[in-house]
Amino acid sequence: MSTILHLDLDAFFCAVEELHDPSLTGKPFAVGGRPEERGVVASCSYAARAQGVRSAMPMGRALRQCPELIIVPPQRSRYSHMSQQVMDRLHNLAPLVEQISIDEAFVDISDLCPDSNISSRLKVESLDTFESVAAGIGRKIQRQIMDELGLPCSVGIASNKLVAKIATETGKKGARGSSAPAALTVIEAGREAEFLSPLPVSMLWGVGPKTEEKLSSLGIHTIGQLATAGAENLAALFGENGRQMWHHARGIDERPVSPEHTAKSISQETTFSRDISDDKTLERTLKELSVEVGKNLRREKLAGTTIKIKLRWPDFTTLTRQATLPAATDLDEEIFQTALGLLRKTREPGAPLRLVGVGVSGLGAPARQMELWGAQTEKQRKIQSVIDDLQARFGDSIIKKGR
C-alpha cells in the first residue's frame, strides 16, 4: 500500500512577494501585469481573494472588483529560486518526488508510514496509527517550509496521487478568511470513495467543462453518483476515458510518483505583459531564460545538442527555430549565444514579440567535448560551477555575470 503526499504552496507568488516586502502582508494585492498592458492576475493574496479577485482574471476586472488592489509585477527568478528551495526539502523528506508545477509536487512517503491496513487492525497494540503518523509527517514538512522559508503550504495525504491532490484542494476550500489556509487533510486507505462521494465531478482529473455538462445532463453531479453509474455505461458514453473516470470516482489511481528523469527537453519561456519591441530588453530576457535553462540542465545532470527558441508575435502566430551544436552543452553562455543567433536571424530589429522561450533538447549525460586548445572553456566551466554553488546557497541575486 502506498502513501502519497501532495503539497501545494498557498498563493505562492504572493507569499514570496510578502517576504520581499513585508508591508504587503494582510493587504489585498495581486502579482501580474498592469491592466493597461492587458495584464492578468497570476496570483492574488488571500485578502484579495476575500474581495472576489481570482487567478487568471484580467487585471482590469480585478481592479473593478477590488479598487484598492495593489499590483506587483512578477519576479520570475525569485519564484523559481524559492520553488527550488521547497523541492530540495521535499527531496530530503523522501527520494521519490514528482514536481508538477512551480508550486506543487507529489512525494511518495510509503516508507515513512506504517501499513495503514495492518495498523488499523492492530490499533489496540499500536498508538502510531496511520492517520497520526501521516498527519505528523504532513505537519512536519509544513512547519519546516514555514520556519525555514517563510512560505505557507497546504498538504493532502492519501493512498494515491488523485485522492491526495483532491484532499489538498478540499482542505484549501474549507479554509476561509484572509490568511493562507495552510490546510492538512489525511484520507485513510479504504475511505477514498467515501471521501470523494459528495464532491462535484469537476474536481476529478479529466473532467473538463464539456464532460461536466454531459454528466450533468445525465443527472450526475457528484463523484459518488459517477461511481454508481457503472464502468460499462461510462465506457459506452466516453470510451476508454469513461472507464478511467469510473475508477477515479471510486478513488482508484494506480499511477506511481514518477520523478521527471526522462525529460526530452528542458525549456523556459516568458509571456510579456505587453508586446516588447526593444531589442535590448528582448535580448536580456533571452539571457535570463538561457541562464535558467542552463541551471536546470546542470541540476538534472544533463546536457543537450539542440538549442531552440520559441517566438510569439502580437497576432499569436508562434514559431520555433533551432540549431544543433557540434557537442552537447549545459553552459548558460553557449545556450544564450546560440539562442541569440537564432533570434537575430529570425526577427527584424524592432519587431514586437508577445513571448520568447529558450529550450534545449537532444539530451544525454553531460559528457563534454574536450578541446585541443581548451584552457579557456575549462576556465569558464569552473566559474559557472562556482556561480551555481553560490546561487544555490544564497539566491540568484547574490552573483551575476557582467554584461
Partner: protein, 376 residues
Amino acid sequence: MKVTVLQENLTRGLSAVSRAVSPRSTLPVLANVLIATDEGRLRLSATNLEMGITCWIGAKIEEEGSTTVPARMFADLVNTMPDNQVHLNLDTRTQTLHIQSGASKNDVKGIDAQEFPPMPVPDFDNAINISVADFKEMIQQVAFAASTDEARPVLMGVLVSVDKDTVTMAAADGYRLSVRKSTLSAVAPSPVTAIIPARALSELARIASDGEQQVQMVMPKGRGQVVFRVKDAELVSQLIDGTFPDYQQIIPRSHKSRTLVSTASLLKACKQAEIFAREGSNIVRLNIKNSGELQPGEVEISAHSEETGKNETLVEATVDGIPLLIAFNVKFLREVLEVIKTPNVAIETSAPNAPGVIKPVGDEHFLHVIMPMHLG
C-alpha cells in the same frame, strides 16, 4: 560574340564553376557566369569574391566577345537543350544572349562583362607542382577536420606549408586535428606557408579530375591569394588572414595504450553506434581491454541514447599497454576512419581525458588527433 559549343562541354564547364556562383549577393553580377571567347576556346568564370573558378572548354568561334548570364538559369537551360550543338549569339547593344539548339530558341538577358570582377592572371613560372592524385588524397584526409564555425575563421582553413620537397596540410576545428604530409617530385623554389579556406580546397579536389598529372600552385606576392591551375581550369581563393594555432604542441609524444584494429571493422562498429549516438550527445564509448598472455585483446564499442536505446559491438584488437575506457564524438571517429586507406589502424592514448591519436598502420604520412568526450 558568336560561338558554337557542344552541350556536354558546356554542362561540364558550368558544373565546374557552379560552386563559386553567389546567388544571393548584393552584387547581381555575382549570380552570373562569365562567358568569354579566349584564344580559340570559351572561358567560363564564376566568383563569390572569396573564391573564383574558371574553366575553358572547346568551341567553334565565329566572332569574339563576352557577356555574363544568370548561372543557375543558364545551366538549367543547357541541361534541357534538345540538340548536342548549342549556338550562342550575343546582341552587344542589349546584352541579350540568343541561345539556339535544334528547334529551341531562347533569349537570355545578361549583364555586361565589364561589370564582372576581373580574375587574376598569375605567372605560373615559379609554381609549386604537386601530383593531382596526391593532392586530392591530402585534401580528402585533411579538409573535413576544418571548422565550419565562422566565429573562428582561422580554423575554417587548412594550413598548407611547403618546405624543400615536403608539403604538409593541417586542419583543426578545435576538437580534432588532421595532418598529412607528402613529397614533391621537385624541390619548391621557396618555402611557403598559408591558410587556404577548406572549402576552396574541397572544390579544387572536385574539379581536378583523376587523369591529370599535376596541379600548379602559386601565391602572387602581396595579393593575399592562392591560384591553382589544373588542366583546363583555374581556382583562385583569398587566403585566410591570421595565425594558425601551434598544432605541433598538442600532438602527444608518448602513449600508455596502443590498440591495433581492423579499419573496416572499427568503421562498421562506429557507423552502427552512430545510429544511436546521434539521437543524444554523439558519444561512442571505447572500452579497450588488454590482451592477455594467450588470448587476444578486444575493443567494446558502445553507444546509447535516452530516447532510442543502445548498441554494442566487440571488435578483436591487439592491445599494448593499459586497459582504458575512453569516449569520443562518434562522428569524429567515423570521419577519420573513412579516409584511412590502410587495412589496420592504431589508436594511441594515455587516459580517458587525454587526446586519442589515430594512425594508419604502415603509413607515416598521416596522423589524426581527436580530443575525447569528458564524461561528467
